[in-house]
């Protein structure tokens, strides 16, 4: 398996049942797939959740990731999204040291990044930023000189743009659309013929 290692975004619709997250994470661990982030939440359909994965690997690895995910009984649908055709966001909470002398400078940065200050303490601020990963990284790097106390990031969530819902899903030539539930195999011993 060769090819360039890149980050890929995969979205899976899964049944909301106990243990489903364990099945998915166990699969990634066992097969040695390199997961950069994983975010889970309710979907628009009752009892179904949506998971967004960012996975590192080449095209052949991504093919295995989507196929292996599809094999899990509780996974309803798996789509690999094309980067240019999606809206992707991540939320980060950043607790940064803020003294009376640095506070206004931090507030300026927050405004430039269109982030929010969601908590103010005597020695620190909590900043909430919803954005792409690069912008969060940029903000993080600018805040670092002030003294970062704590960071919490949700991992990417992603959705295909309305205009490109079908285009955004990477086609898989060799995995035909599944048909209806297959009939059970014949259960009789038959001769070679």
């Amino acid at each position: 398996m060769s090819g360039a290692t890149e980050r890929h975004t995969i979205v899976a619709l899964v049944q909301d049942q106990p243990g489903v997250l364990n099945r998915v994470s166990s699969l990634f661990r066992r097969r040695g797939f390199n997961i950069a982030s994983l975010a889970v939440g309710q979907s628009e359909q009752p009892n179904l959740s949506r998971m967004t994965f960012v996975v590192e690997g080449d095209i052949a690895t991504m093919e295995q990731v989507t196929k292996q995910l599809n094999k899990l009984i509780e996974v309803i649908k798996v789509s690999e999204l094309v980067e240019e055709e999606i809206v992707a966001r991540e939320v980060a909470l950043i607790k940064v040291r803020a003294t009376p002398t640095t506070r206004s400078e931090i507030i300026q940065l927050v405004n430039i990044f269109r982030a929010n200050i969601v908590d103010v303490g005597p020695q620190s601020l909590i900043i909430e930023i919803t954005s792409g990963e690069d912008k969060i990284d940029a903000m993080y790097n600018l805040l670092r000189p002030f003294g970062i106390r704590e960071v919490m990031r949700t991992g990417r969530i992603a959705m295909a743009r309305s205009a490109s819902e079908t285009r955004a899903e990477r086609p898989r030539g060799d995995t035909p659309t599944p048909t209806k539930n297959g009939a059970e195999h014949e259960q009789t011993q038959v001769p070679y013929g």
């Binding site: 009984i73 048909t179 539930n181 259960q187 009789t188 038959v190 070679y192």
Partner: protein, 573 residues
Amino acid sequence: MKLTGAQIVCESLLRENVDVVFGIPGGAILPLYGAMPEYPQLRHILVRHEQAAAMAADGYARVTGKAGVCMATSGPGATNLVTGIASAQMDSIPIVAITGQVPRAAIGKDAFQETDMTGITLPVTKHNYLVMSAAEIPQAIKDAFYIANTGRPGPVLIDIPKDVLLNDEAEFSYPDDVDLPGYKPTMDGHPSQIQKAAQLIAEAKRPIILAGHGIIISRAYQEVLELAERAQIPVVTTLLGISSFPSEHFLNVGMPGMHGMAYASMAINESDLLISLGMRFDDRVTGRLSDFAPNAKVVHIDVDPSEISKNVKATVPIVGDLKRVLQALLPHVEPAVHAEWVQQVEDMRVEHPSHRIRETDKLLPQYILRTLSDVTDGNALVVTGVGQHQMWAAQHCRFKNPNSLITSGGLGAMGFEVPAAMGAKVGAPDKVVWSIAGDGGFQMTLCDLATCAENNIAVKFAIMNNGYLGMVRQWQDFFYNKVYTATSYSANPDFVKLAEAYGIPGIRVTDKSQVESSIRQAMMEPGPVVVDFLVEPEENVFPMIPAGESLSEMLEEPDQVPAFQASNEGIAT
């Protein structure tokens, strides 16, 4: 009327046409055993170790095509099933394992005999369930059997807390349909892909069919035979594909790979088209992937999309049930003659006769297996353990009927031979079932001789007794400077006396001249028999392609080993 969880399990199993279950009771599953006398149609076979329950269910499933069922109590009972479940997962065998769990209120409290069975079996089952109320049992069992039997078959475990079995009650009605929105195996191949495959077959000059276990699972013998004959394509059978194609057919080239026939591996090497049917390019088949079939395009047909292009890139992938795909493919396949190619393969067979057994008065296991095959006229069901005897059986047994070799191929679980043969005999009581064992593997599961004796399960056990863990010793011989650590069984029991202790006749064979008569004598016995063959102790399996190597590193004969060792100083395989 409301039924208890235990009654609901029994009712549901009957709805799935279960007639036999293999198991051992214990605290957490006792309520289920308590209900069983109300359901005499469910025959319970009490085994002596839970591993045997899972492996017997495996053997039963392979011969009947129905899911085999095993049961165990929570904790150690359930964990003992795991090796058998893992073997079934690797070999795509439908089994349903039902385990008792500690009562709901005790789960997560490290209660006595509590283990997280859904957690433990998660990577070695196709799916599993922890059922938390009696009302959920019917749907879980319905879905479990459906998942186990369809698509690429596999094991499913259902874990049920004791109090759900004992105290919890529900109205029983068995569902007509499964509730599995995320499970829809692709059964029919894509028509345009099938066209492309037919095109490649028409263009091929040196095609090979790689016949795998999928042929047996989908019972596609007739279709494969038709394909091979119509386009005159030599057939190479993987370990689990043996008996998917008649052994004596002139197009059958035998098993390839690590211990396969040299000419089968050579044919793959020379081929310009591999038609891979229900097989998964295991490393024992391919060796080093970069050197595997360098000139071949690949048509890969498998029901599991994740197997396609996992190890070997498919030129034309087709996902679907093999029988249905081949039925759709055959009308597009033009009759062809590949006389030159077939002759080329035949020449390789003549020049590299790895199927030949050397002339000697010594008691060779190869000779025993060939004789056994001859005496049974290729009609026996052969169940093997894992190791040298397994490879010799694969090399030297001939089969007239499909689905006649049962072996733990993927997991390679020693000890499989005793319980799997037992399950196979229960599933096919009219068949002659020979269990081929090594003295190592046999001692891992021989406690279930008692089960055979108790239930008169007439398996014929043949032990290729060399007093060694033979295959491990062979690796030490070839790759670990002949440092034979921990592979000698210097204090084996007297297997004849041991058999007699179990109430089973035992026969000892020490000389080549006794082989045929002892096999005949064993088959005259109405019940189980143990035949202890004291074989040539230091015989090795040839040919051998060392792990991770390719055809050019094949050791065809013993005299090639020293040269290989000299050029691979410090090899770690």
